[in-house]
Amino acid sequence: MRFKAFLRIQLHQLIVRWRWLLPLPVMGFLSYLLSNAIIIRNPPAFLSQSGATNMVNSWDALFTGFGNAYYMVFVIANLFLLLVCDSLPESAIGQLAVFRLGSRKSWWAGKSLSMLIAAFIYTLAGMVLLLGLTSLRLGFSWEWSKFGWSGDTILVPALFLQSSSPLATALVLFGMDVLGFWALGMLMQVVTLLTRRYLLGYLTALFVLIGSMGISGSLVNVADGLKLFPAIRNLVMTFYPYPFREVAMGWSYVYWGICLTALYLLGYILSRRQNYYSKEQ
């Protein structure tokens, strides 16, 4: 009960902020870009050919958006990191709450859990917004579109097209991204714990993401474990920069699980010596 109350204060400070309206224009702009790109590849004349229905739909935009490594790193993940980058330094009311909670370990658990909830809300809101906004131009269907079936163009491994519905596939991607954003947020918090500078935390997480894009390019003929090493390959479904995926999606969950366990334990150890300074110090 006490921890729940503490978590409520943490979430209030983390999420009830004007900056959390930013995903609206950002996802709006992304939806516009993706809809245009899909329509350009599938000209209206072609779409209306022989009365073909479901030539394209909003799932195409969702998977293309959340599957594109550049969009993921520079827009989607980056925006999440910006939204939560100052979550670790404790505000005045946060310090009063920690003092009453009476435990730095519980404080760290609260920070970690609030990051998970923030990642969940952000990913859900981002996907629903993108799906909803693009459906205005591309239409909506519970089935794969013909454009989706055309191969790797929507950045979904072929296996999913054959054996899963778009919703089930989106849920797999959703899980990967929630875990990934949570882990990146935790990385940011651990670096902030170490350095007391949240800007360094943010830059480290961003560096890991951008760096993973560079590493990805050289990892083809290597062991499966190494193929999964770059973080970006566990945020999108294909093996960036290649349009295929050689390792089962479940391993990306394992990857984030290992990262989260390590980061939680590291933060747990560091938090035992955590000092709560005033903002000026």
Binding site: M1, R8, A97, R100, L101
Partner: protein, 225 residues
């Protein structure tokens, strides 16, 4: 045994030191705060008064030395000072919520406060518990009062107050002082800081000055100068 407890000190520090980089803020401080008194600490801004209070409360861990509050070693036996109410720096709250709602949230973290007690604490500092305006509309003085209300709402035996009259007008200061004196009469122990020696002289049983990392008691003649 009870007599012993009555006479025992509420706060004791031994050889307490804290540095930030090469800057030694506190140097080997030994300090004792007996039960039922108001002690004041003065010193210029940025000298380390807040750091000292934060260390006593457990929010900052010292580099060296120990802090014992109500017989518990803070940082070893307990992470934060027990049975203590704190007001450190400018009190910050959730600005979109009312003062009462903020206190209710904090009270649910401590799990020790009844709704009646929250209302009483708000009244005791001169605020209206029925005021539903968000804290963002409060003046600095009102926020300071609300900060004091959160410090007293759990009815703590020790109050650690960092410049509690900041932002209050003269009348407001007098109200807070008379309330603190009332608390002392009830047997509560209070440690208060201010950059104004005159302010402390009105209220405190003893005044200490923090300067160059050392905490020294000021004699009566000095405190009147």
């Amino acid at each position: 045994m009870d007599l012993l407890n009555e006479q025992s000190s509420v706060v004791q520090t031994h050889n307490l030191s804290k540095s930030f980089g090469k800057h030694e803020v506190l140097k080997h401080i030994d300090f004792t705060l007996p039960r039922g008194v108001i002690y004041g600490i003065c010193g210029s801004n940025g000298i380390g008064k807040s750091v000292f209070l934060r260390i006593l409360s457990g929010l900052i861990l010292p580099d060296q030395g120990e802090v014992v509050v109500f017989g518990k070693n803070v940082g070893k036996e307990t992470e934060f000072a027990p049975a203590t109410g704190i007001l450190i720096d400018s009190p910050g709250f959730l600005l979109a919520n009312s003062g009462k709602r903020n206190l209710q949230l904090l009270a649910s973290v401590s799990g020790k406060v009844t709704p009646d007690r929250i209302i009483r604490a708000i009244r005791q500092v001169g605020l209206d518990p029925e005021d539903r305006r968000p804290v963002s509309t409060y003046s600095t003085g009102m926020r300071q009062r609300l900060g004091l209300a959160q410090a007293i709402m759990e009815d703590p035996d020790l109050l650690i107050l960092d410049e509690p009259t900041n932002g209050l007008d003269f009348e407001g200061q007098k109200e807070i002082y008379s309330y603190l004196v009332e608390l002392r009469a009830q047997g509560k122990t209070i440690l208060i800081t201010s950059h104004s020696r005159d302010e402390l002289r009105i209220l405190c049983d003893k005044i200490f000055i923090l300067s160059r990392g050392k905490l020294d008691q000021i004699s009566a003649s000095e405190s009147e100068s």
